[in-house]
């Protein structure tokens, strides 16, 4: 993930808000990652992110595009137990997801 503190202030970084949203609070150090795969439809991934996480269509679409273009996206953060629950749900929907400590 991009380290936003290295960004020179005058550079336009449209992704800053998106990455800032995924900065993790210190007591919730685990993340769920959704990975790109060749089968899942972009419209379906967007639907899942709205349906399960309650994200609005813009945020869901933005995360889906990140998965599509960059190969992966952090879709949630929290305790390890919460992330295991989210990964299980993603596997239920047929997305490929893993959990790990936030880097």
């Amino acid at each position: 993930m991009v380290d936003v503190s290295l960004a020179p202030p005058e550079v336009d970084r449209p992704d800053t808000d998106r990455f800032a949203e995924s900065v993790v609070a210190p007591d919730r150090p685990w993340v769920t990652i959704v990975w790109n795969d060749p089968v899942n439809l972009m419209t379906y991934v967007t639907f899942v992110l709205q349906d399960y996480f309650g994200y609005d269509v813009d945020k869901a679409t933005s995360l889906m595009m990140q998965v599509h273009e960059e190969g992966r996206a952090v879709v949630s953060n929290g305790t390890r137990e919460e992330m295991e629950r989210d990964v299980t749900a993603m596997h239920g929907y047929g997305l490929w997801a893993t959990l790990q400590r936030d880097s």
């Binding site: 795969d37 060749p38 089968v39 899942n40 439809l41 419209t43 379906y44 967007t46 639907f47 709205q50 269509v57 295991e84 990964v87 299980t88 596997h91 239920g92 929907y93 047929g94 490929w96 997801a97 893993t98 959990l99 790990q100």
Partner: protein, 180 residues
């Protein structure tokens, strides 16, 4: 094949006889593939709480894709996670397949209409996705794959895969909330 959304979040799907028979056959195969294990554990408590005997991922790439590892770099955590979650995931996928088979059986009318409420539509959506994951894995679909060469024995299965993609895509469009 046509799909219309209904008020209340359901859908009406129109399928002809061939489409219905074919889809039913594939979903029945999927149901067999994902069926939860018979109680193999010798520990009656484990069986009661739904713990699976399997700690290892399947040797079948299609099952590996349906039930992937949750931890990339920690085999023990991945095994534990699998043991606690795979059986329930299998049950959910098997139940969704059962909904598809049952609602296909209730198809009626001149246009071959399958009427689904919102929950049944979600079951179809998940089941179609599982089906495409299995078929896609088996034929080695990649991001760039469109159609194989004429002589490729996978060609008929690619037809199936692309038809299912069209069906699932049309269904998710009918179910997706409209942008404001």
């Amino acid at each position: 094949m046509k799909i219309r959304g209904t008020s209340g979040g359901g859908v009406r799907i129109h399928l002809d006889d061939d489409e219905t028979e074919a889809l039913k056959g594939w979903v029945e195969q999927l149901a067999e593939l994902v069926a939860p294990d018979e109680a193999e554990s010798s520990d009656p408590l484990a069986t009661m709480v739904g713990l699976g005997a399997d700690r290892e991922p399947s040797g079948d790439p299609a099952l590996q894709r349906l039930f992937p590892d949750a931890y990339l770099d920690d085999d023990e955590a991945a095994s534990d996670f699998r043991r606690y979650t795979e059986q329930d995931l299998r049950k959910d996928k098997a139940q969704r397949a059962a909904v598809v088979i049952a609602t296909l059986g209730e198809r009626s009318g001149r246009k071959g209409t399958v009427t689904l409420d919102a929950d049944q539509a979600r079951a179809w959506l998940g089941c179609l996705n599982d089906l495409r994951l299995v078929i896609g894995t088996r034929i080695g679909v990649t991001e760039d794959d469109q159609w194989p060469d004429e002589d490729d024995p996978r060609t008929p299965v690619f037809f199936v895969y692309h038809w299912l993609t069209y069906l699932q895509g049309t269904l998710v469009d009918a179910m997706s909330p409209r942008s404001p």
